[in-house]
């Protein structure tokens, strides 16, 4: 299993058989605090990779840096072999690397279906002049069809015409994920997809994420829900104090002493499955 993913020895920053994203020497300082200090990191293509670590480990900051929402002090990274450092966030998304946010950014004053349509890329009608002369009608119909398919998969089809603001927190998470998928990304980066999602939805969300992998999409996600991490991820990367401290298969890495020290702390002897939020 690990042989499909890794070349050589399994260690923090190890080489992957087929990396989709490679980052080198990425640092970000906030004043005197070094939030991120990643020497080398590779994300395997076509797999589900979990990025875990205690609060303040720099996971979200790393997400922000890689997607162009924040600027690093140093560092370079390549997505599919092409440099992505210094590329503005909207171009990162156009290259096929789309993210969601820890604090859900559903557009609440728009309907669910309009949120979805906004996610589609290369829309003719998003040019002012083409928009004025109605050249976008046929493409809009295709986009709407794609959106309706995704909404049905995420069980949001009944909410199609509702304003996103009227959805529950969990449904907004689903909507944000579905909207990100409208662009048919190569790599989707989910920042805490389970936060605030009720247990009944959790199971279907896990299935959706597995479904993405089946469709050939690479998934990288940040999550505190160990149950989810263990359940669906092929690979786990552990960060602490801005650094990558461990990597490995979920079953192995969660028994790693460095991980237990950095992350699990006092809870290391309890069943990880019972650490779910709200319990």
């Amino acid at each position: 299993m690990a042989k499909d993913i890794v070349v050589g020895k399994i260690e923090p920053g190890c080489k992957k058989v087929d990396p989709i994203l490679v980052a080198d020497n990425v640092t970000r300082q906030f004043g005197g605090l070094t939030a991120v200090n990643v020497e080398h990191l590779e994300i395997p293509r076509g797999k589900i990779t979990a990025l875990i670590g205690p609060n303040g480990a720099g996971k979200t900051t790393l997400f922000n840096l890689l997607t162009g929402f924040d600027k690093p002090n140093t560092g370079s990274w390549q997505f599919e072999g092409k440099n992505l450092a210094g590329v503005p966030s909207y171009k990162v998304a156009r290259r096929g690397m789309v993210r969601t946010f820890q604090l859900t950014k559903s557009l609440n004053a728009m309907t669910v279906i309009e949120n979805m349509r906004l996610g589609a890329q290369k829309q003719v009608g998003e040019n002012l002049f083409a928009g004025l002369v109605q050249m976008w009608r046929s493409q809009e119909a295709r986009i709407t069809q794609l959106a309706d398919g995704l909404l049905a998969r995420f069980k949001l089809d009944a909410k199609r015409e509702d304003y996103a603001g009227s959805l529950s927190g969990g449904q907004r998470k689903l909507l944000e994920m579905a909207r990100a998928l409208m662009s048919e990304p190569k790599l989707i980066m989910l920042d805490e997809p389970m936060a605030g999602v009720n247990p009944a939805l959790t199971q279907s969300l896990l299935e959706h994420i597995k479904g993405l992998k089946a469709n050939g999409t690479t998934v990288l996600f940040v999550e505190h829900d160990m149950h989810m991490v263990r359940h669906i991820s092929d690979w786990v990367i552990v960060m602490a104090e801005g650094k990558v401290v461990a990597e490995g298969e979920p079953g192995v890495v969660m028994k790693d002493q460095a991980v237990i020290d950095a992350y699990l702390g006092a809870h290391h002897d309890t069943d990880l499955g019972t650490m779910k939020k709200g319990k």
């Binding site: 909207y90 946010f101 002012l128 928009g131």
Partner: protein, 327 residues
């Protein structure tokens, strides 16, 4: 009190070209604020650039009037670029500060005696634009429609100015139902969300600033045509705040909002003035001398604006649901 005169003035102002000028500025502001969320507190400057652009194009550059109008709109685009390129990367509230400052800078630039030969300094420019009435296809005569009574020139000016209002409204309607408009509405709520979906937010904000500015520029042109002059003191911040009141009264993110807002606002503006002046003349308002009526009107407008924002933020035509979900 002369009720018939009060009625005629109140109704007459509804189709006044100056009302159309304010409506055009408010349509521009609806693109900026209503649909894109840009807090532009310098709409007076966009109108002033249009007004001065036309006057200077005509008087100094000796352009034919129609070409001078085109020149005016070009000036507006340049102004929007100068204002937008450095500031649209900033957060919304900074834009408000920069726009209000820019509009004052532009006004003082026009008023200063340094460029008196071109701008006319503090006296402004006058006695021009009569070619506009040479275009008038309407035969000489008196035109009466119910309470309205116009000469052929007055009629022509109203057709032109409200024609522009109709065209602007149609354009905004077409833009906002297109995917382009959808991106703007997304930006209004959360720029980062739209960025994460691969849209060049900066470019859209700049386009919005230019388009809304162009409508205001048209408003400035209408203003100048109806007055046959342009003066720096017209474009004070009060102008901007009146445009804001018109917009918020009608509804910031609605098609008919600016039109209805402008008509209701100016009808009330005139009506309140007539009533207060009449009562003051009859000695019913011992605490208010007739010369103060004008100021009291501004106090009432300020009060109305506050009440509007607190109790009916969506205005007359806005969609309450679009405002209800914030956060």
């Amino acid at each position: 009190m002369d009720w018939i005169q009060t009625f005629n003035l109140t109704v007459g102002v509804i189709l006044d070209p100056l009302t159309a000028a304010y409506i055009l500025c408010a349509i521009g502001l609806s693109v900026h604020f209503g649909f894109t969320g840009l807090l532009n507190f310098g709409q007076a400057a966009f109108a002033a650039v249009g007004a001065y652009g036309m006057a200077i194009g005509y008087l100094t550059l000796k352009l034919p009037l129609l070409v001078a109008m085109g020149f005016a709109l070009l000036c507006v685009v340049v102004f929007a670029l100068i204002l937008g390129v450095p500031t649209l990367r900033l957060r919304a509230d900074y834009l408000a500060i920069v726009t209000i400052a820019a509009s004052e800078v532009f006004r003082y630039l026009m008023a200063t005696s340094a460029f008196k030969d071109v701008t006319g300094g503090s006296n402004g420019l006058s006695q021009f634009g009569y070619d506009f009435f040479d275009w008038n296809p309407i035969p000489v005569g008196k035109y009466e429609f119910g309470p309205f009574s116009w000469t052929e020139d007055q009629f022509w000016l109203r057709i032109f100015s409200f024609g522009l209002v109709a065209i602007a409204t149609l354009l905004v309607w077409l833009m906002m139902r297109s995917p382009w408009g959808r991106v703007l509405k997304g930006i209004r709520e959360d720029e980062d969300a739209v960025r994460s979906l691969g849209k060049n937010v900066f470019s859209y904000k700049l386009q919005s600033l230019i388009i809304g500015g162009l409508f205001a520029g048209m408003g400035g042109i209408v203003f100048v045509l109806s007055m046959s002059n342009v003066q720096p003191q017209t474009w004070v911040t009060n102008f901007t705040f009146m445009v804001w009141t018109v917009l918020l009264l009608g509804g910031a993110a609605s098609m008919l909002g600016p039109i209805a807002g402008g008509m209701v606002f100016f009808a009330l503006w005139v009506f309140v003035n007539e009533i207060l002046a009449g009562m003051s003349n009859m000695g019913w308002l011992p605490f208010l001398d007739p010369a103060q009526v004008g100021q009291v009107r501004f106090i009432l407008i300020g009060l109305a604006l506050m009440l509007l924002v607190v109790f009916r933020p969506q205005g007359m035509f806005g969609n309450k649901k679009e405002l209800r979900f914030n956060g």
